[in-house]
Structure formats: C-alpha cells, structure tokens
Amino acid sequence: MESKTEQPLEQEKEVKGPGRLSRMFLTLYDVYKFIARFFKEGFLPPYELKELFRQCYEIGYRSALLISTTGFITGIVFTKQSRPSLSEFGATSWLPSLVGIALLRTLAPLLTGLIAAGKVGSSIGAELGSMRVTEQIDAMEVSATNPFKFLVSTRVLAATITIPILTFYTAMVGMCGALLNVSLSENTSAKAFFQSSLEQITFLDFTASTIKAILFGFTIGVVGCYQGYNSSKGTEGVGKAANSAVVIAMFLIFIEEVVSVQFFSLFRT
C-alpha cells in the first residue's frame, strides 16, 4: 500500500534493511520518482507564482555578494596567471578573448554552481528538513494543500531560472576583474577589452553555458529539496540534510561539467 504523502517512515526504512547496493538502487528510484513528480506537478495549475518569485529573489539575493566577490577575484587571478604564458609567445593581445572564453565556457557556470550549491542548496535542505521534522509539511498536507507543489516545485524552478542569470552575472563581474588587471599593466580601454573578448565567443559557447547553468540550477534545487523533504531523525536529520544537499550537489555538478564538456566538444571544430 503506497503512502499518500510519500513520506518515508524511519522505522520502516530501518527494518526493511536491504543491502547497501539495493539501498542505493532504492534511493535512485526514489529520486527518479521525486523528479518525475516535479515534472508532473510543477507545471500544472494552480501556480504558486508569488512563492516562485520570492524564491528567485531569495536565491539571487543570498548568493549575489559571494558570487560578485568570487567572480571578480577569479577574473583578476586568471588574467594575472595567464599573462606570463601568453607573453612568452607574444600573444598578450589574446588575453581578453582567452579570459572571456574561459569565463563563459567553464569558470562562470562552475563557480556559480558550486557557490550556489553551498549557499542555496544547504539553505533549501535545512529549511525543508526543519519543516519536515517540525511537522509543518504534514500541516500543509492535512490542510488540503499540496506541499510538494508549494515547497519543492517552486524551489527547483527558482534555482533552475536563477542560476543561469547568476552565471552570466558572474561572467560579467569576472570580466570586470580581468579588465582591472589588464588596465593596471597596460593602456587598454574598456571598450576595446570587451570587444576583443566578445568577438571570439560563439553562439555555441553561449548555448553550452546556458544549458550547463540550467542543469546545475536544476541539480541544486532537486538535491536540496530531496534531502530536506525526506529528512528525519530530528535536528540531526536537518543537519544531515543540509550537509548532504551541498556535498551531493557539488559532486553532481563536477560530473555534469565533465560530461557537458565532452558533449559540447563534439560540436566544436
């Protein structure tokens, strides 16, 4: 008999006691059902638009400062480290395009994904976990409200929408950092720098970066929500949910990065 709430009961989980491998497959199946439920319910009315916008704002607001700082510093450091190698070949004029491509293709999506996994993923995991153990999710269930739609769908969608925006913001801030570094060592105008950076960026770079960022955002949202929504064992469970949300999301982001680099390289000549 299937539970109406899909709430795992700790006692049930413990006593069934399948082996480690079976448990892993059971968890994967559970995650698959969770994602399937998101696609089944997330796009159907009634829409929780107010909560969706609130989550988008929260995710952007929570990560903005850290992303700005990290992006800016990355731009400076990357430019500084790349200059000597390029100088050896007398190719310092390639620096803006190198930085632009590196930032857009990999650094910005990866940095944004990792920072958001830490800031946003942990926050979602802890918030939903705490709501689970204090029975707030059950309270939504019994008041005839679908908590999955209100809590999970909105957060996953918000992360999927916001992370790509933050990615391009990171790239832009990183470029500003690079410009600062370049300006300190040579006489280059901002217009010339950005022109030089952008002329090497292709539509494929832009598309690949967007797709990766969407994937990272979706991963952060799903992992955070899954861990929080299914947490148990009181405060210990909340801590575990927050921690797992970060660790698993970061691990998956690296795997997605490797796979997507391989995939998009097929389209590059």
Binding site: V15, S143, A144
Partner: protein
C-alpha cells in the same frame, strides 16, 4: 468540572475503524482496533506514550497508510481514495498538531490565510481578512495577528494552530496531545477551547492525550489504548471504574499526583 453529555449512539458515524493494524517493522503498534466516532461527540483516546495514539489519527487523515483494516471517514475509505479525493476529504478533517506546526516563516495572519486562500479561491481579500480576524477572535488571540510564531507562547501557538485548522470549517477535529507541555492554567484554557469548538462549530473530535484532566473535561467518551488495542471504551467513569491493573495506575498517577 462540568459533566460532559453522553454520546448519542443513534447518531451518524463520522469515523468507522475496523480491524486496523499498523506495524513498524517488527513493532506492532496497532493490533486490529475497532472504533466508531459519532457525529457531535468528543472521543478521547488515552494511552501511554508510544502506544500508537498519534499513529491512529495520522492514519485517519491519510498521513500514514494502514497495514490492514478499514478506516472510513465521512463515508470514504481513506486508503482507497485518490490523492485528489483525499485532499477534498482533508478539507472536512482538521488536524491540530502536538507542536502546533505553525509555519515559522509566516506571520500569524499568513498562517491562517495559507489554507484559506488555497482552498477557497472565490473569496475576496476583504472576506479572507474578515475570516482570519473572526477565527483569531474566536480563540482570543486577535492581538497576535501580525506576530511571528517564534514570538508566541506554547499555549498561544496551540490556539493559533487550532484556529488555522478551524478556518476551513472542518466537520471533524483531530487533536494530537493538545495540552502536552503546558501549565495547568493554559491546559484548562485549551480544554475550554476544545469544548467551545465542539459546541460553536458543531465538530466531532478525537482528542489524543495522556492527560486525564483533559480527558475528563472534554471527552464524551474515552477509549483506553493498551497493547495495540482498545481495552476499555465508555464514559470516563466507566473506563476507570475498574480493577484492571493496566488501567488503574494511569488514573492513580494522574490524580494522586
């Protein structure tokens, strides 16, 4: 303490439970229990901690599924209806949680608005505002309307939790340990509130507790849950007028203490 009216057993049954069983692994919590709740009555379920009292009401509201047995709520078998039908049924069944389960990121007003605006979409803003204020007034906490749950006392949180449940005008109320962790005066206030809800909103209720003062004060009938089964069901006096060694200590502890 005012004597509660006896249950009218000719009244319609709002909850019918037959042969209900629930286990968690090898731990058999409910071992085939039968129970009827009649329209308009407050039924108190008494029992020690861990005897499955909360499990029982979570099954009634569909938060847990039974291993065996039938649970019929307002004529519908809870474990055999669709999720959509269950949501509709839940509009008629209010659940007051032991720890109130107020949404801690929302104010008191938003807590009460939350179920209302999602389930009664035709209401205007003014009607929602009126309904929220009316319900807070009914539990005597209109002055807390803009406060956050963290700013409320335990008793206030319980009252707000009950108000949030009542705002959907349920036919059945399920109270999970309504007086747990409260001082005697606040317990008395909560007991009075439960009785007031019964008369003012014409609800039928199941009250889960191990507080005999609460049981005596609010229950038309009392059901004693022991070893996974209801050992004694009747009025408070009928249940405790016994030499059963499993029941007597319960009474002695509560009242002698």
């Amino acid at each position: 303490m005012e004597q509660k009216k006896q249950t009218d057993k000719g009244a319609e049954k709002v909850i019918e439970i037959k042969g209900l069983m629930k286990s968690f692994g090898n731990f058999h919590v409910l071992k085939g229990i039968d129970l009827d709740v009649y329209k308009g009555e407050n039924l108190v379920v008494l029992g020690k901690s861990g005897t499955g009292k909360s499990v029982l009401i979570k099954i009634i509201v569909g938060l847990l599924t039974p291993d065996a047995g039938d649970v019929k709520v307002l004529g519908q078998l809870v474990d055999q209806i669709t999720y959509k039908e269950l949501l509709e049924l839940r509009l008629k069944v209010g659940f007051s949680f032991q720890n109130s389960a107020l949404y801690d990121s929302m104010t008191v007003r938003e807590n009460l608005e939350f179920p209302l605006v999602r389930n009664q979409k035709n209401l205007t803003k003014a009607e929602v505002k009126h309904a929220v204020e009316e319900m807070l007034d009914a539990v005597g906490l209109l002055n807390t309307i803009n406060q956050m749950p963290s700013e409320l006392s335990g008793g206030q949180r319980k009252r707000i939790g009950i108000a949030r449940t009542l705002i959907l005008r349920p036919e059945i109320m399920l109270y999970d340990e309504p007086t747990a962790g409260l001082d005697p005066i606040t317990c008395l206030e909560i007991n009075n509130l439960i009785n007031e809800v019964q008369t003012r909103f014409h609800t039928s209720s199941i009250v889960i507790t191990h507080d005999l003062t609460c049981a005596k004060s609010v229950g038309n009938r009392v059901a004693m849950l022991l070893d996974g089964q209801f050992q004694r069901v009747g009025t408070f006096e009928e249940v405790f007028n016994t030499n059963d060694e499993r029941v007597k200590p319960f009474y002695d502890y509560n009242f002698i203490q």
